[in-house]
């Protein structure tokens, strides 16, 4: 990066909004993924859309790449500066600009924390439905870029289903708006394209979100099983019976013991798996649905099915689920959380196969995941200092993802492709698919100046995928 770009950025934003010293930049060279550190050359903190536009124009002038970043909680390296350059951190664009309770809409800046939207409207009986585990810290801009999910997306859908309109800055600095308060666009559904495009087409600077009315009744059940097979068969049957829980999460025995030791959520340590099932809606509906879920679980030999007695108990169960990944940090220096998706009816065989892969490679692979929508999160724990263990972890992970795709599933359900899975994209997409996606990419980001090196494979062919996968998982070993 040239000194003159730094001078221009300082002059545009003021020195308080520009970081360029090595020790300052270190905070921004990681995200929540296991990617190798990628340090940006400069980090800037705009306060307005116009500033974002001018930063992007400056970067274009100096032919320097630009990467957007929210809270850096992403799990696929989407917010890492793979090619260095200017990182735009949206932390100071964190205002809720408008709340329209009657129409159940809020207009927010991208740096607003996910849970803060709910906090701002919950007194009116509303909330923002997408609830990634990191919702206390992740930002709505990052959620839009990654099309983030969460446990309750089973009933309510992922981020894209809750976005009505966007304001964006294109790589040439042009500011555009799309969508409408009600979500209807006049023309092609550009919002549908930009949400989940992982910051590779534009930077989002303002979001109109849809707010959801809080349900009248919530029933949270904990079903305890002595066999993982029985738990997964229960999930498949809950879906098949036409019951749509708001959330249906599974923790296997290995994982729940670790979580229980840390969180004390009340998961029985001697069980093989638990299901956390939440039913929401009218009182008249949740009662009968809960009975049906209990019936399914008992049919599949649940040892016990208990309902949370009160809000405190419900929160404790969810704390166990949402803090699980933190708990795993007690077992190994790092872990690799996969995000494959499978058809829900294939859950029993997929879990069995994952265990077989674990045995083959000598790993205990934990599973804590969104069972209701088939979004698996197998967790491979490893010590990055042990090169052999790391190699095996990568090989095991590759096999699991490949198996998910073979079952008719997908590489990623909510974490995004980023620079973590881009080389695996060839498992799902043909040359023709890539050609079209590249043309769409080129249509908006012709110089690849925005978030370069993401989503698209940089190599082709399985052999190269393996080599690249090793590199991309390389961390700092």
């Amino acid at each position: 990066m040239t000194a003159s770009l730094l001078r221009d950025l300082n002059s545009l934003l003021g020195p308080r909004n520009v970081l360029h010293q090595k020790e300052d930049l270190m905070l921004y060279e990681y995200d929540g993924s296991v990617e190798k550190a990628r340090r940006p050359d400069v980090v800037v903190f705009p306060h307005t859309t116009e500033e974002v536009s001018r930063i992007v124009k400056l970067a274009a002038e100096y032919q320097v790449p630009v990467v957007g970043r929210g809270a850096g909680t992403g799990l696929s390296g989407g917010a890492l500066a793979r090619g260095g350059g200017v990182m735009i951190v949206f932390a100071r664009m964190n205002r809720i600009l408008e709340i329209d309770l009657e129409n159940q809409r809020a207009v927010v800046q991208p740096g607003v924390v996910n849970l803060d939207i709910t906090r701002a409207v919950e007194k009116a009986g509303l909330y923002f439905a997408p609830d990634p585990s990191s919702q206390k810290s992740c930002t709505i801009g990052g959620n839009v870029a990654e099309n983030a999910g969460g446990p309750h997306t089973l009933a309510y859908g992922v981020t894209v289903n809750h976005i009505a309109a966007l304001e964006l800055v294109l790589p040439d600095g042009e500011i555009v708006r799309m969508g409408s308060k009600h979500g209807d666009t006049s023309g092609y559904d550009l919002c549908g394209l930009f949400v989940g495009s992982e910051g590779t087409l534009a930077l989002v600077t303002e979001i109109t979100v849809k707010l959801t009315r809080k349900p009248e009744a919530v029933k949270t059940l904990l079903a305890i099983f002595d066999s993982v097979d029985d738990a997964s068969l229960s999930v498949a049957e809950i879906t098949a019976r036409g019951i749509t829980p708001a959330a249906c999460e599974m923790l296997d025995g290995w994982t729940l013991r670790v979580v229980e030791d840390y969180v004390h959520a009340g998961f029985p340590r001697d069980s093989a798996a638990v299901l956390l099932v939440e039913l929401e809606g009218l009182r008249e509906a949740t009662g009968t649905q809960a009975e049906a879920v209990v019936d399914v679980c008992r049919t599949h030999c649940a040892r016990e099915v208990r309902a949370a007695k009160d809000e405190r108990e419900r929160e404790l169960l969810w704390k166990g689920r949402k803090n699980a990944f933190g708990a795993l940090g007690r077992l190994a220096p790092t872990n690799y959380v996969l995000d494959g998706v499978i058809p829900r009816s294939k859950l029993p065989q997929a879990l069995q196969h994952i265990q077989e892969i674990g045995k083959k490679y000598g790993f205990a692979i934990g599973n804590i995941f969104h069972a209701g929508d088939g979004n698996l999160h197998p967790i491979v724990l490893y010590d990055p200092r042990d090169a052999k263990a790391f190699e095996k972890a990568i090989a095991a992970s590759g096999e699991i993802i490949r198996y998910c795709v073979e079952l008719g599933g997908a590489l990623t359900g909510e974490h995004g492709v980023g620079m973590e899975k881009n080389e695996l994209m060839t498992l799902m997409f043909s040359d023709a698919d890539f050609d079209l996606m590249r043309r769409v990419h080129h249509a908006f980001n012709p110089d690849s100046s925005l978030n370069p090196g993401k989503i698209f494979p940089l190599s082709k062919g399985c052999g190269e995928i393996r080599v690249k996968a090793k590199e991309m998982m390389g961390g700092n070993q």
């Binding site: 308060k181 009600h182 023309g187 559904d189 394209l193 879906t239 008249e284 990623t412 698919d433 769409v440």
Partner: protein, 457 residues
């Protein structure tokens, strides 16, 4: 001559049975008076790709269609050489009822699909007009509203993947067959409402939904628009599971009452009296349906409804079905009709009065049908005479009013002479430059339905 030559070439490409060039057949594939030179009846995505590659090499324009029930949506094509009749690509490719996912060819009729899903106690909430004949591909490409969008949203909310042929003649896919998937760009969302201008849709993947055990329906009528909107506000704020929520102005209520009468169906009193009416249907288990009925009655009392009418099952089914078909009977309500879809941040008594004033000022009859939140179908009708100028002025006045309210409009139906003069879309959200980039990426040579979309696309 083009017809004969083209047909011969296409026959040698796909075989004689796949090509039609008879004059009367060509006329039945006309779009706004323009006929193709040949009709192709492909039986697979591979055949579609072959036709597209041929069209690309010969620089021919393709309009793909299903049952052709909504071909009048959009502008007349700038060029039209080949009609691609997709009704032969019509199988269920994959249906995993236990997983609530479906992969279905674009030419599958919605009615057949409904029957197949009903066998497994499931359905697809794509309840669109011309349901008896519409194909699933046509329903998505038209982007026409489903009557169930209040509860189930738009196709964007349950379309999970697609296979299609792009402008280079390659079979591409986007999304997948799982309900949660963020792998790659969601290109399939761009196909919704694209009027066949981006690609030829060959297959669509959906999330399906369980059929409810019981359903109910009510018609509540009011003396004024204010009472109507107050009732609707109460209803929405209560968070009740309403699958279909429609508001009919007196003009629309009167038309619908006449249709129901002529079909010898029951006519609820609110429609008969030509009042402002709210139709609500809901579903769930018996206890839920009973609870919603009770609450509706309470809200009706609190907002001083003129009539509160629980509907018996036949009347409810008949009325619900008619409302699903609203686009169809609205556009044929009179010999000359202007039908415009408005998207408004808010529909208020003031907006209603403004729209009524426009009708009065232009000496036209008509009315408004509000669907879900923010969507309004505005009808202006003329029985006879030289009324084009008045319809055109009405279209302009409505567009202006909606633009002032930060909304946008889409012209759904108008006499052809007016359609070619008026802008089919107008309002706050245009982004035509961005759309042009999307079109160029999908269809670099401009083969697909050129000019049909808007702004020359």
């Amino acid at each position: 001559m083009l017809t004969a030559n083209l047909a011969t070439k296409l026959q040698s490409l796909l075989g004689a049975t796949r090509v039609t060039a008879a004059e009367h057949s060509l006329l039945s594939f006309a779009v706004d008076g323009m006929s193709p030179a040949a009709i192709i009846h492909p039986a697979s995505a591979e055949e579609v790709a072959e036709v597209v590659r041929f069209a690309a090499s010969e620089k021919l324009a393709i309009v793909s269609c299903g049952s052709r029930s909504k071909l009048e949506m959009g502008m007349p094509p700038a060029r039209y050489d080949i009609a691609l009749d997709m009704t032969g690509v019509c199988h269920i490719a994959h249906y995993d009822a236990g997983d609530l996912t479906l992969s279905v060819d674009a030419g599958m009729p919605l009615r057949h699909l409904e029957q197949a899903l009903a066998e497994k106690q499931q359905f697809l909430p794509l309840a669109v007009p011309c349901f008896e004949t519409s194909t699933v591909g046509g329903a998505v490409a038209s982007g026409i509203d489903s009557v169930l969008r209040q509860q189930y949203g738009t196709a964007r909310d349950f379309l999970i993947g697609a296979e299609f042929v792009d402008g280079t003649g390659k079979i591409c896919k986007s999304g997948g067959r799982v309900v949660k998937n963020v792998t790659g760009y969601d290109l399939h969302k761009l196909l919704i409402g694209s009027l066949g201008t981006l690609c030829v849709i060959t297959r669509l993947n959906f999330r399906t939904f369980p059929l409810a055990q019981v359903s109910g329906g009510q018609l509540v009528s009011f003396a004024s628009v204010e009472g109507t909107l107050a009732f609707r506000r109460e209803l929405e704020a209560a968070g009740l599971p309403i699958s279909n929520l429609e508001v009919l102005s007196p003009g629309i209520a009167t038309i619908l009452a006449a249709i129901l009468r002529s079909a010898k169906s029951g006519v609820p009193l609110g429609l008969e009296q030509g009042r402002w009416c709210v139709y609500a249907s809901y579903e769930g288990n018996a206890a839920v349906v009973e609870r919603v009925s009770r609450e509706l009655e309470k809200f009706a009392r609190e907002t001083n409804a003129a009539n509160y009418e629980p509907l018996d099952k036949p009347t409810d089914e008949s009325l619900g079905g008619m409302l699903r078909e609203a686009f169809e009977w609205l556009r044929f309500a009179s010999p000359l009709v202007l039908l415009v879809r408005l998207v408004l941040p808010e529909f208020s008594g003031e907006v209603s009065a403004g729209l009524s004033d426009i009708l009065k000022a232009n000496s036209l009859r008509g009315g408004m049908l509000l669907r879900a939140r923010g969507i309004v179908y505005f009808l202006a009708q003329v029985e006879e005479g030289a009324a084009l100028d008045r319809l055109e002025k009405t279209a302009k006045d409505v567009t202006r009013l909606v633009a002032e309210k930060q909304g946008h409009t889409t012209l759904l139906h108008a006499p052809l002479a007016l359609k070619s003069r008026a802008s089919i879309r107008a309002g706050a959200d245009e982004n035509i430059g961005l759309m042009r980039r999307v079109k160029q990426a999908f269809d670099p040579q401009g083969l697909f339905a050129p000019g049909r979309f808007w702004g020359g696309l």
